[in-house]
Symmetry: none
Subunit: 225 residues, 4 copies
DNA sequence: CATGAATGAGGTTTCATTCAT
DNA sequence: TATGAATGAAACCTCATTCAT
């Protein structure tokens, strides 16, 4: 975030104008994409509205038609990214409803890794953005949404019952962040990523077994490879 | 990090001049402290060399006597913080050498939380700094050091043996980051922090039990509260 | 040239942006003129981009739209000046093609003095600029262009033939600089300037007679007054 | 010359304190030398008092004991250089008293080239300094001194008599500057330098023959090689 | 006397944002 | 509506000069 920038009153992530024409939608999309690309090469530091506009093939003026300021652009981009991640997680949670915790853990970890490593560069770049604005609405909302999804899912687990599902949900929704971020910033190769994913799954399974109260005799569990 | 700032050639975190007079040491210390304070109120965005100097009660010129540019100041501050955290972790690891994984997990999680929540504001502010420069030497070095400490510790566990201690060490050294960061940025109250700490401990214990190969019949393990 | 200034990588004198709107052209022109004026009162030392912009009645930002840094502005201004001088010399040379060396000398010295004393202040100010950057492309190019013009002209002289026209051309293209510069910096009055010009003409004529090989019996030459 | 620099009231080139102790003399000499070296690599632009002091192995404070400000240091250095050049010229003039103009021209041109190319780097660097401050006392004094030497010499010529010896002296004392400077800044190799020197000698001889009134029948003069 | 840390005005440059065209 | 030139506050950084030690 630049210091010239961004009026002190942080603005909501909503675009100033809802795109009603096809052209507008295209423009907005182009700006959005360009912003990510600019973030990709150069980082937050070198991201300027002018550069984004140029990359998008529009004028700065046009950019400001759709985003009242730099911050709102960043917030919008971050929001879309976080929404994708959260929705991937929500989907995985929803599809695991009623299953055993083992299946839940596997599904959820797999979904998280899948979305995070779909475009590693983007994930990495946007992590820095999120860290910079971690206190903000956008981030908080995303966090709460995924936590909620976990909580609801956990309460449907067929094999376990949780005394404090919110707490377990909080842990589940945050444990993955550290490892994934470390992998992203070191550009770890796929085999390493996979190994970490398996361990994280094992860890999650073990955690839920530990912290959840068995509804019936626990089954024998295999060892992670 | 500000866009005006910070020449692209990233500089090492070393002060440009070694203080030989007592006066200098005081100045350096003051700048360091001031930098953290400025980071605390305003974030990376509003952190400017001018502001830091003012807060430290010295002139900008003095700041630049000891740090060749903004980036090197930030790197130095971040480095000191990371070093503290890493050393706390290393200590905990070292003191757990030869013990059972249960004790290791408790010690390490406790140490990590203790140091992270000693000055929550500082931890939070410096996380953003670290995220912004995640690719850099300072961060990489800290990461590797703590991972190494975990690895060495794990290999001395009295009750377990690990096929891939480096992998387990990587997981251990990163899982805590997400939850702690979430707690910090939401300024969670102590009881919540404690609850999460207990769960993280439980999770770690369960993980090590799961992923480590028993050297002797495992003892009965209590349930987390 | 100021020490704060001017990235070490010397930039080409080209404006960074080609003006497409009429407004731009005006701005560029204004900056150019203002730069010379600022140079006029205060010299290179006191020439700052801020001052130039203010004098031009535009903002610093505008200046930097057209010149990526202070150096490029200076280079552009110097370049235009040198180009004018060189073209005046080239014209004089071209128009003397095929004539006798006497006529050539007169024409060329006269042209040089005319252009140099058209705006004495400007000539004086830009001489310092040129000296400061004497190693650079702009200056080198101008030097070579005028030397070439002399060389070509000399080879067409009707009365003389030159064994080493490049050498004679070098001498011709440089002898005038010292005297003219001395006159400029002492703000010598016109009569003095004229007297020096006549002597320089006589010297040049005598030199070419001396160093050139006669193609036919040399005519009697009058004495300078 | 730097903008931070040099109080607007230009100071005289005299050192603030006459060195009475041996140590002082050494220090002054060291600073002087260091200044030239700094000028050599980096030019006027990168010449700072701190850098000069460091190179001289003394503290800035000491530097300011002997030179009240940057400008006076520069003026002193320039003054010494110009004095050397002028004295070389004066010597050559003096030794040519009473001789024929041919001998005078040879002696003087040779002396000028010898001193100028003794340390080409220094000559080049100091030319820029002189250009920057061309209006100043130091430069004016040097100019006048050498012009006077020429004038006196010319009036003793055995073969010629000059109607306006001051004018001829002015021309003689300035014609060499342009060619020499061009050679210096292009770092021309010795053979080229020699060739130019011979031509300049020939030109000077021809000029004096042309502009001076014969005291007796002129002798036949050879052609320059 | 020498030292070198401290000063701070001021120079260069950037970039979010506006608005005339 | 789109454009992009213009703006100017503000950031980074330098360095001549001073003065306590």
């Amino acid at each position: 975030m630049n210091s010239h920038s961004v009026s002190t009153s942080r603005t909501p992530p909503k675009p100033r104008k809802v795109p009603v024409q096809a052209r507008s939608t295209i423009t907005v999309k182009a700006i959005h994409t360009a912003c990510i690309q600019v973030l990709l090469d150069g980082g937050l530091d070198r991201m300027t509205t002018t550069r984004v506009a140029a990359r998008a093939g529009v004028s700065v003026g046009s950019l400001y038609q759709y985003y009242p300021n730099k911050h709102s652009l960043l917030a919008a981009v971050l929001n879309e990214y976080l929404t994708q991640v959260v929705e991937a997680v929500e989907d995985a949670c929803r599809q695991s409803h009623g299953q055993e915790t083992t299946a839940m853990a596997s599904a959820v970890v797999e979904a998280f890794f899948k979305i995070k490593f779909a475009e590693p560069g983007v994930s990495h770049a946007l992590h820095a953005v999120a860290a910079e604005v971690s206190g903000e609405e956008v981030v908080r909302r995303a966090t709460l949404r995924s936590q909620k999804a976990f909580e609801v899912m956990l309460s449907t687990a067929s094999d376990r019952h949780f005394e404090d599902p919110a707490l377990a949900a909080f842990v589940l929704s945050t444990v993955g962040i550290g490892p994934v971020q470390a992998l992203l910033s070191s550009e770890a190769p796929p085999p390493v990523v996979d190994a970490v994913r398996r361990h994280l799954t094992a860890m999650t399974i073990a955690y839920l077994r530990e912290v959840g109260i068995s509804r019936k005799p626990a089954l024998k569990v295999g060892r992670v490879r």
